[in-house]
Structure formats: structure tokens, C-alpha cells
């Protein structure tokens, strides 16, 4: 399915969460359908991205990270992906104050790294006109990853469902924004405890124009 997003970033974000379905209904039925080449094709191509990520949990830590992912699309719609992140975490000012006063630190460990594998599904194709001059082509996507988080000797099972916004640039360059939710199950002193968070990610990568198959 193809869609035409509105021309502002805000609208892009709205589209990204799937609220644009009604736009097609407003189209003029008497007009002719149009076609255009995909700006970038994905099928049979490999893509690699350098990523910058941050993880928000209500956990007294500040966490940012960097990493890389590699994906391969079996078709224009469906791809598989491997991802790894290295995190840098530090206590929030509030937690530091508690630690300084009480010598207590959170039972939840600061994440050090995340390794996942999963699938990525492009459910549409869009473009946006910016500044009345530039057209950005993009794929709205959903992804689902599963893997482990390493946190100070703890190994934490983790899944990260998310929605993504993959833009195509010249020369095979891709910039993507992944909005991931995280769900983890960590064995703390009180037992297995689930925790949820939000991990937005921006990635800059490249996909060669030649197909692998």
C-alpha cells in the first residue's frame, strides 16, 4: 500500500503511527492514478546503519548508546535484521542524591549492551515535500526484535517492538528513525521483574544499489 503524507514533520509523525488511512478517501476519483519509480529499492539488498539510541525507563538512569544494525530485505516489504548497541548509563541527579545520602542504589542494573535480531516490515511507501523544494521518500515500517540486554553481569531477555520511518537519500544513503518500545524481564533481588521503556533510535546507513540476489 502506498500513501501520501502531509507536508510537515508533525504530519509525518502522525503518519508514522498509522493515522493517515483516511487521506486516500479524500482523493478525487475522477483523477488518474499515477506511478513513479521507487526512489530506492530494498528487495535483495543489504543495508547497514550506524545507530544512536537512547533508552527511557523510569529507572533513575540516563542511558544513551551507539551501535549498528544490518538488514536484508527478502522483498520490498519484508526484511530481517540484526542489531547491537553499546550503552553508557549514569545515575540521574535524583538517584545520585539518594546514593550520596543513603548509599542505596537501584536494584535495576544499568544496561551495558543490547543484542537483538528480528524482522522489519515496510507497510507503505511515502514521500514528503519539504521547503517546497526537496522530496524525501520514505518507508513507514514496523519492526519486532528479540534478544538480550547485558547489564552489570545480568543477562536480561528483551523484546523491542516498534514503528520506524526509513528515509531514502541519494547514493543509497538511508536515515531512519525507529521508535521502539522495550519490554524486559530482569531477575532482581525481589525476583523476576518486568520493566518497560521507550528507545528511540536514529540510524544513518547505506545500502548498495546492486542486489545480492
Amino acid at each position: 500500500m502506498a500513501m501520501r503524507p502531509a507536508t510537515s514533520l508533525t504530519a509525518l509523525l502522525i503518519l508514522a503511527v498509522g493515522l493517515l488511512g483516511s487521506l486516500e478517501a479524500a482523493a478525487d476519483d475522477t483523477s488518474r492514478a499515477t506511478v513513479q519509480p521507487r526512489f530506492a529499492e530494498k528487495e535483495g539488498r543489504i543495508a547497514a546503519h550506524a545507530t544512536f539510541v537512547t533508552l527511557f525507563r523510569d529507572d533513575f538512569y540516563r542511558t544513551v548508546g551507539y551501535g549498528a544494525d544490518v538488514s536484508f530485505f527478502l522483498s520490498e516489504n519484508l526484511g530481517v535484521e540484526l542489531r547491537g548497541h553499546n550503552f553508557h548509563s549514569w545515575l540521574s541527579p535524583t538517584a545520585e542524591g539518594i546514593r550520596d545520602e543513603t548509599s542505596l542504589i537501584p536494584d535495576l542494573r544499568a544496561p551495558d549492551a543490547l543484542f537483538t535480531g528480528g524482522v522489519r516490515w515496510s507497510w507503505g511507501y511515502g514521500k514528503v515535500l519539504t521547503l517546497d523544494r526537496f522530496v524525501v521518500h520514505f518507508d513507514p515500517q514496523v519492526s519486532f526484535h528479540g534478544g538480550i540486554t547485558l547489564a552489570e553481569r545480568r543477562v536480561i531477555p528483551t523484546v523491542t517492538p516498534g514503528i520506524a520511518f526509513l528515509t531514502h537519500w541519494r547514493h543509497g544513503i538511508q536515515i531512519k528513525l525507529d521508535l521502539q518500545w522495550t519490554a524486559q524481564l530482569e531477575r532482581r533481588q525481589r525476583g523476576w521483574t518486568p520493566s518497560f521503556g521507550f528507545a528511540p533510535l536514529i540510524g544513518v546507513g547505506w545500502s548498495p544499489e546492486r542486489r545480492l540476489r
Binding site: 483523477s31 526537496f134 524525501v136
Partner: protein, 624 residues
């Protein structure tokens, strides 16, 4: 900056600083418009046109292509824009297209009246109006293309997608005007536009002939103005065709030299121009289709005969095929023309050909020819050849009847000796007593014309005689019916004699001879009326008796009747009335010359555009 704002800021920054895809106005480079049309792929043709229109480079050829699409889809053809009107070549093609569209409307309208569902037979419309000839479904969008749904937005980096071209020819009738004749005259006006631009356009000239003939042939209630207009159009069309010859390149469009001649002949016939008609028909007499050739020969002979051009009519002396429905009429006109020219041998030869095994009574032309043969034969003395010829004129069983008929014709022709020679043997040969009175009547008249009074009396006696045996066997009230035939012959003889006598002149010997015969008529009539008062012809004979009596110069009864009777007998006008032997003109077959319609009036460009080649029909072999 708060961490939550990093990502949008980074995205905006990267978009602003890096090379996004610029918005361009470049469309695909296509200048091959008509290939898809030739290949009957309407969807692809429509797509090609849309691509041209989308590229902001549409020109007269794009508009022309759109008009071809409208034609193929039975839609109303859009009027030409200034762009098209200023391109002479494209405009010329457009005008043809409008004409073809109008022809289709007219054909459909005409067929609706006549209930002919095959209105498109022989024309390009068998393909143009076909539901299946064209491919109308769009090709599938290729995998590497994004298909955007219909939208008002126009992105220059998008171009129109192939789309379905629905079949709309079912709605063709909606475009018809209420007055069918309007469609004809509109079509004529369109041909005028084309010929003003190109006075040498043979295709359109020939089409004009078809058009005007369709008007004249149509079952229209033409008022005087429109009829005059149509006849002027016909004259114009004929004049155009006279000065043009069909070149070989138009062979496939059904415009051949034969077609030209056929059209010229029909136009000339409609215009009642016998000279032009016979000239055009002469060109057709060696047409390869035997039916057409024979029809042309017949029409030519008939027209020439009606005009009194007997040399022309007699020229075509070879009979048509016996199986032809025109055989009798053609032979009659040819033979008759030969007779008028004095070519007796050729006339009789043709007559023998026609009459030898044909059922004469059923056909007015054979009947007329037979009478002319008899008239010709009585010019000669009776000999073996006469009798042999009579034998060949029909079945042997009817020979006696033919001899008697020839004898009667001889009487009319003033050849009593021929009549006598023919009829006398019949008295011996005829076994049916019911036919004898007619023979005696013929012989009586022959004797009268030969002034053989004894023989006349003898034959009249045979007509008036009442045998005693019959008188005793037949009651009085039934005698009138029993003797009706014989009495009618008697009346006929006496009635025929008076005008014959009147033609003898008024000199002394003639008057004397007339008086002799008037006395005989009076006496015979008087005797018969006395002996057979019950006769069915008594009234007629009484009138004749009265009239003859009045004409007697010194007969006492005649004188007495003349001065004593105030009620004169019926007036008798004497003279010769010439009755044509030819059958009425409306009995002559009036076959229609027919020909294949022009296949196509179109000129279709062949890619690349602008074209160097124009064709009349689709070329499906064109490489995509």
C-alpha cells in the same frame, strides 16, 4: 538541549544540509504515440497520450491522438484547439477522423431504421466498434514502480498510470440528432471542409458519391428544397468522379476503377442523365463479377432503348445468362432495338433464343417480344421458314394457336393473303370445334380484305349457322350461352369491318365497294337478328346493323331509318390507334448496382511523431 529534542532536530538538520531528491519537471521521453493504437492496445495508447499531456509538451499530435482515442471509444470528438487548428497536417487528419465519426453515426442511424445490425460491414468500424478488437485493460504496474491512487495533487516526478479504457460504444445512439437527414448533411459539410483544403482528395470525393446516393436511396420524405439540394450534391459528386481515376493504392479501400464506374453510373441514373449513365455503364460491361457486368449491360440497354438510341441498345446482342432474372428484359430491349433498326435477321435470331424454351405467358417481356416477332413475320410471305420459325417459338402443341395468332396479326398488318394462307389449313387441322369460330372469323376478315365475297359469305355462314339438331336439343333460354363464343366472333368480324372500310378513302370505286360490303353487313346482321334473337350479342349487332344502315346511300331501309329515327346509333370514331407493344416501364426490372463501401476514411499516423507515413487502417504488425 534536552535529549527528547535531539532526534527531530537532527532529522531536520540532515534534511537541510544533505542532498535531498530535488523536485524536477522531467517526464519520460516519449514521441511514439500511435504504435499502441495500431496494435489495438487502447489502454497503452491512452497511457502514451497521458504521458505526453503530463510532460507539459502536448502538441497538435497529442490532441489528435486523443481524438483517435475518442473515435475508438465512440465518444464525441472534441473540437480542435488553436494548437491543432494551426497545424495543417494534423488538422487534415483530424478532419478525416471527424468525417469517419460522422459516417459511423449516420450508418448507425440508418441501420436503426432498417433494422440492419451489420451496419459496419465492409468498413473499419467492424474493428473500431468491436468490443473485443481493442485491448482496454491496463498493463500491470511494474514492481519497481509505485502506484499512487487518483489525487488532485500533481507531483512532477509522478506520471500517469495506465488505466482501463471502458467500452462506451453502446452509448453511440445517444449522440444522434432527432432528424436523421441532419446527419447526412452534416457529413456532407465535413467532406466540403476537407475538399476545400485538398481539392484532389479522391477518397473523400468517392465517399461523397456514396453519401449522396444514400440520401437519394434512403426512405426519406425529402421536401423540394432538400431534394434539389441533394440533386445538386449528386451532380457535384458526379462531376468530381468524372475527372478522377482510382489509383491502385486505394484498391484495398474498395475504391477501384470498377467502383468509380459503378458510382458514376448510379449518380447519372439518379440524375436522369442517360448519356452519362450509358457511358459509365459501358465501362462496367467487362466487370469480373458476372452479376455486376450483366446488370450494367441490362441497364445500359434499357436506358438506350428508352432514349431511342437503338444503335446503342442493339449493340449488346449477346444474351445474358439464361439463369439471370434480367435475361428476358435484356433480350427484349436488344431484340426490339434491332427490329427498329431493320436488322430483321438479328431480331429474329434473338427472339428465337428467347422464346424457344421460355414460358411466354408469364413474362411481359417475352409476351411483347412474341408479338413483335409476329409483326415481323407477317412482312414476309408464308413459306416453310415461317412455319419452322413458328414451331421454334414454343411447344409444338401450341403451334396451331400460334399460326392463328400470326394470321390475326397479318390481318392487322393488311396482309390478308398471309392470314388466309396461315388460317386455311387450320380448318382441317383443328380438332377442337370450339376453336373453329375464331378461325372462320379470321378467314372471313381475310376474304373481306381480299374482296372475296363468296368466301366471306361462306365463313359468315359458318358463324351464323344454327343446326336443327342443336336447336332441338338446346332449350331456347340456354341458346345464348351455348352460342356465345360463336356469336361473339360474328360480332367481332362485323365490328372490325366498318373501320376498315372507312380507311378505303372517298373516291368513286372505294365508295362503291363500301356500299357493296355495307349491304352485306346489313343483310347478314338482319338475318342473324331475325334467326337468333336470343343471342347474347343481339344488342351489339343491332347497333352495328343500325350504323351500317345509316351509312347506306340508297338502301330504302337505311334511308328510312336515317330520316325517321331521331335516335342515332352510337357515334363511331374511325381511325388507327397505335398501342405500344412494349410492356409498361414499371414492369422492367430495376436492379440496383451495388459496391463495397469505402473501408476507411481515416488517415492514421505511423510513429514516430510527427509522422512521415499515414495509413488508412490499423497496422497490427507495427513493432511496439
Amino acid at each position: 538541549m534536552k535529549p527528547g529534542l535531539w532526534l527531530p532536530a537532527a532529522l531536520l538538520a540532515s534534511m537541510s544540509l544533505s542532498a535531498c531528491v530535488p523536485l524536477t519537471a522531467d517526464g519520460p521521453e516519449r514521441r511514439e504515440l500511435f504504435t499502441a493504437f495500431h496494435q489495438a492496445d487502447l489502454s497503452r495508447f491512452d497511457h502514451a497520450l497521458s504521458l505526453e499531456e503530463h510532460s507539459h509538451r502536448p502538441d497538435a499530435w497529442t490532441e489528435l491522438g486523443r481524438a483517435f482515442l475518442q473515435l475508438a471509444n465512440c465518444q464525441e470528438i472534441s473540437p480542435p484547439s488553436a494548437l491543432l487548428a494551426n497545424d495543417d497536417e494534423a488538422l487534415a487528419i483530424y478532419r478525416r477522423l471527424r468525417l469517419e465519426d460522422q459516417r459511423r453515426l449516420r450508418l448507425v442511424a440508418t441501420s436503426r431504421l432498417g433494422g440492419d445490425r451489420q451496419w459496419h460491414r465492409g468498413t473499419i468500424h467492424t474493428r473500431l466498434a468491436s468490443r473485443t478488437y481493442f485491448s482496454r485493460d491496463p498493463a500491470a504496474v511494474e514492481d519497481d514502480l509505485i502506484r499512487w491512487p487518483p489525487s488532485d495533487e500533481r507531483w512532477p516526478d509522478e506520471w500517469p498510470a495506465p488505466s482501463e479504457v471502458p467500452y462506451e460504444c453502446e452509448d453511440l445512439l445517444d449522440r444522434l440528432s432527432d432528424d436523421l437527414l441532419d446527419e447526412f448533411f452534416t457529413e456532407w459539410a465535413l467532406t466540403g471542409d476537407i475538399l476545400r483544403a485538398d481539392p484532389d482528395d479522391l477518397l473523400v470525393k468517392v465517399h461523397r458519391a456514396d453519401l449522396v446516393l444514400a440520401i437519394l436511396d434512403g426512405d426519406f420524405d425529402l421536401d423540394d428544397d432538400r431534394r434539389d439540394e441533394a440533386l445538386e450534391m449528386a451532380a457535384e459528386a458526379l462531376e468530381d468522379l468524372r475527372h478522377t481515376e482510382a489509383p491502385e493504392e486505394h484498391e484495398r479501400l474498395a475504391i477501384t476503377r470498377w467502383g468509380q464506374a459503378l458510382r458514376k453510373a448510379r449518380l447519372a441514373i439518379e440524375l436522369d442523365d442517360p448519356q452519362a449513365a450509358t457511358y459509365a455503364l459501358s465501362e462496367l460491361t467487362d466487370h469480373p463479377v458476372i452479376d455486376v457486368a450483366e446488370t450494367a449491360r441490362y441497364l445500359r440497354t434499357r436506358i438506350a432503348w428508352r432514349q431511342g438510341w437503338f444503335e446503342v441498345a442493339a449493340d449488346d446482342a449477346t444474351p445474358l445468362r439464361r439463369s439471370s432474372p434480367l435475361f428476358n428484359a435484356h433480350l427484349y430491349f436488344t431484340a426490339s432495338a434491332n427490329r427498329y433498326l431493320g436488322h430483321s435477321d438479328r431480331f429474329l435470331g434473338l427472339a428465337r433464343e428467347a422464346l424457344s424454351d421460355r414460358q411466354r405467358p408469364r413474362d411481359p417481356f417475352l409476351g411483347a417480344l412474341y408479338k413483335e416477332v409476329l409483326q415481323e413475320l407477317v412482312r414476309f410471305d408464308v413459306d416453310e421458314r415461317t412455319l419452322e420459325f413458328l414451331e421454334e417459338l414454343g411447344p409444338r402443341a401450341g403451334l396451331s394457336e400460334r399460326r392463328r395468332e400470326l394470321a390475326e396479326v397479318a390481318l392487322d398488318a393488311g396482309r390478308p393473303e398471309v392470314a388466309r394462307e396461315l388460317a386455311t389449313p387450320l380448318l382441317e387441322e383443328t380438332r377442337d370445334a370450339r376453336r373453329l369460330p375464331r378461325i372462320h372469323a379470321v378467314l372471313a376478315l381475310a376474304a373481306f380484305l381480299e374482296d372475296d365475297r363468296r368466301a366471306f359469305d361462306d365463313h359468315l355462314h359458318e358463324l351464323t349457322r344454327r343446326s336443327d339438331a342443336l336447336e332441338s336439343a338446346i332449350p331456347r333460354q340456354r341458346r345464348a350461352q351455348f352460342y356465345a363464343h360463336r356469336d361473339a366472333e360474328l360480332a367481332r368480324v362485323l365490328r372490325a369491318m366498318l373501320p376498315m372500310m372507312a380507311e378505303w378513302g372517298d373516291d368513286g370505286p372505294a365508295r362503291a365497294l363500301r356500299q357493296v360490303w355495307l349491304v352485306r353487313i346489313v343483310e347478314h346482321a338482319q338475318r342473324f337478328l331475325r334467326d337468333a334473337p336470343e343471342s347474347a350479342v343481339s344488342d351489339q349487332l343491332t347497333d352495328l346493323y343500325t350504323l351500317a344502315s345509316q351509312l347506306l346511300e340508297d338502301h330504302p331501309r337505311g334511308y328510312a331509318r336515317r330520316v325517321g329515327d331521331e335516335s342515332y346509333a352510337s357515334a363511331l370514331v374511325l381511325g388507327t390507334v397505335s398501342v405500344s407493344l412494349a410492356p409498361p416501364d414499371d414492369e422492367a426490372p430495376a436492379p440496383r448496382l451495388r459496391w463495397a463501401p469505402i473501408d476507411s476514411l481515416l488517415l492514421i499516423p505511423v510513429d514516430p511523431i510527427p509522422p512521415t507515413t499515414l495509413v488508412h487502417d490499423f497496422q497490427r504488425e507495427v513493432e511496439p
